[in-house]
């Protein structure tokens, strides 16, 4: 059976490099993936108000699509989609009345949702199902000499019942980088918020966060930063322009999706990396290390 895959909106445009590199990597790992039919936006942020049920309809509808594929697991790549789908799922599992109301609202759906879909993130699948030792065996181009700082951000690790890794000191991405023979770099800002959607109306705040997070990674010797959230990557990459305006001494550093490094290591073609979508060009450092 193929793994159901929920891409989410940003993976289809600004984060095409995330999707293409992830799908190529999964192919190299012999994992069959099938995109959900008729998926819709998850709503991006999980609604935190007690009475705001309407905003859980969109994520739950996507879980019905998983059932329509006769599956009970769905893979996400985007950390925000992962968090929103998984939290909405948890909420309806914990509150049968909420589930009933949401099902009633979607009375035209042929399947009633019963809280029986498991929401997984690709990192979890790599770690628990495919296993890092098997990935290591398939490495064609080891990432030798590349110092990688893994930035987890918020949505992969918090809250505690949703994150699949240690919420204060996660290491799943670092372990993956080790399996690819890169050199993981520890840095103390790996779970500090990048400012998220504030990037729309408060660029300065995001530039400030970008400066702190990336400077910390650089001070530990990182060549590149990897992440799993299209919003983190947008902020940490694109907002370096603003960061340079505020802090002229700031040195740029490429920010990649962890899947792009995975794809390189597994021998995917350069076209699946879509390195053209970055503001800070990762080509020079990757060429210097002999990786592309």
């Amino acid at each position: 059976m193929k793994l159901s895959y929920y891409p989410g909106c940003t993976l289809k445009n600004h984060a095409k490099n995330f999707e293409d590199s992830a799908l190529c990597s999964l192919k190299k790992l012999d994992v069959g993936v099938e995109e959900l039919p008729r998926w819709n936006c998850c709503g991006t942020v999980f609604s935190l108000s007690t009475d705001d049920l309407i905003h859980h309809v969109a994520p739950i509808r996507n879980l019905i699509r998983v059932k329509e594929q006769n599956n009970n697991k769905v893979m996400t790549l985007c950390a925000m989609c992962y968090n929103t789908l998984k939290r909405a799922n948890q909420r309806v599992k914990d509150n049968p009345e909420d589930l009933q109301k949401i099902n009633d609202f979607m009375y035209r759906e042929k399947i009633k949702y019963e809280g029986d879909v498991e929401v997984l993130h690709l990192l979890e699948i790599l770690q628990n199902d495919i296993k890092l030792e098997n990935i290591a065996k398939k490495v064609k181009k080891p990432l030798k000499g590349l110092k990688v700082a893994s930035y987890y951000g918020c949505m992969l690790v918090r809250p505690k019942n949703i994150g699949f890794d240690d919420m204060e000191n996660p290491n799943s991405m670092d372990n993956l980088m080790s399996a690819l023979e890169a050199q993981p770099v520890e840095f103390p800002y790996k779970t500090e918020c990048c400012g998220a959607y504030q990037t729309v109306d408060n660029q300065e705040l995001v530039a400030e966060r970008t400066f702190q997070i990336l400077s910390s990674a650089q001070s530990q010797g990182a060549d590149v930063v990897v992440a799993s959230c299209p919003l983190c990557v947008f902020n940490l990459d694109q907002r370096q322009k603003k960061t340079r305006q505020i802090y002229p001494e700031f040195k740029n550093i490429p920010v990649l999706y962890f899947t792009q490094l995975l794809a390189i290591a597994l021998g995917c073609a350069n076209k699946s990396l879509r390195l053209d979508l970055h503001y800070i060009d990762p080509n020079p450092i990757l060429k210097e290390k002999g990786l592309i």
């Binding site: 909106c9 991006t44 942020v45 400012g195 504030q198 109306d201 408060n202 299209p230 947008f234 694109q238």
Partner: protein, 135 residues
């Protein structure tokens, strides 16, 4: 600034609304300050998160709705996972935003964003922002 504390304010419908929307017991907070200590955005806030909780306990509605704190908070949940009393501070911030948004008092005006900004920003940023700052 003179702040007046009164039983009326503490027992006001505003406090009840914040507790209802957030699902939190505000009086559980004993002001340890751990939320503020770990908040990555505190330098931009005019009221630190622990003070927001204190003001909410006291029903200081005007001070709270004129503060920028709930709009700076991006729900990263660092405070929630560290609170020794199990209070979800981010949910209180959401409740404060909702109190205003449900009166159509938007924080961001979509019409003021240029076409260039809108095309450069990814959907994840736009949808997230509009969900949090507009009604």
């Amino acid at each position: 600034m003179k702040t007046i504390i009164s039983r009326q304010k503490i027992r006001s419908p505003f406090v009840a609304k914040v507790e209802e929307l957030s699902g939190q017991n505000l009086l559980a907070c004993y002001q340890c300050g751990k939320c503020s200590a770990g908040c990555p955005a505190i330098s931009q806030m005019d009221l630190p998160p622990n003070q927001v909780i204190r003001y909410a306990q006291l029903g200081l509605k005007d001070e709270l709705i004129n503060s920028n704190t709930m709009w700076i908070c991006a729900s990263c949940l660092t405070c929630n996972v560290r609170c020794p009393k199990g209070i979800n501070i981010a949910e209180v911030m959401e409740a404060l935003r909702q109190v205003l948004l449900r009166q159509r008092k938007d924080h961001v005006d979509i019409n003021k964003l240029s076409t260039k900004e809108k095309s450069e920003l990814p959907p994840i940023a736009l949808v997230g922002n509009f969900r949090k700052t507009t009604s």
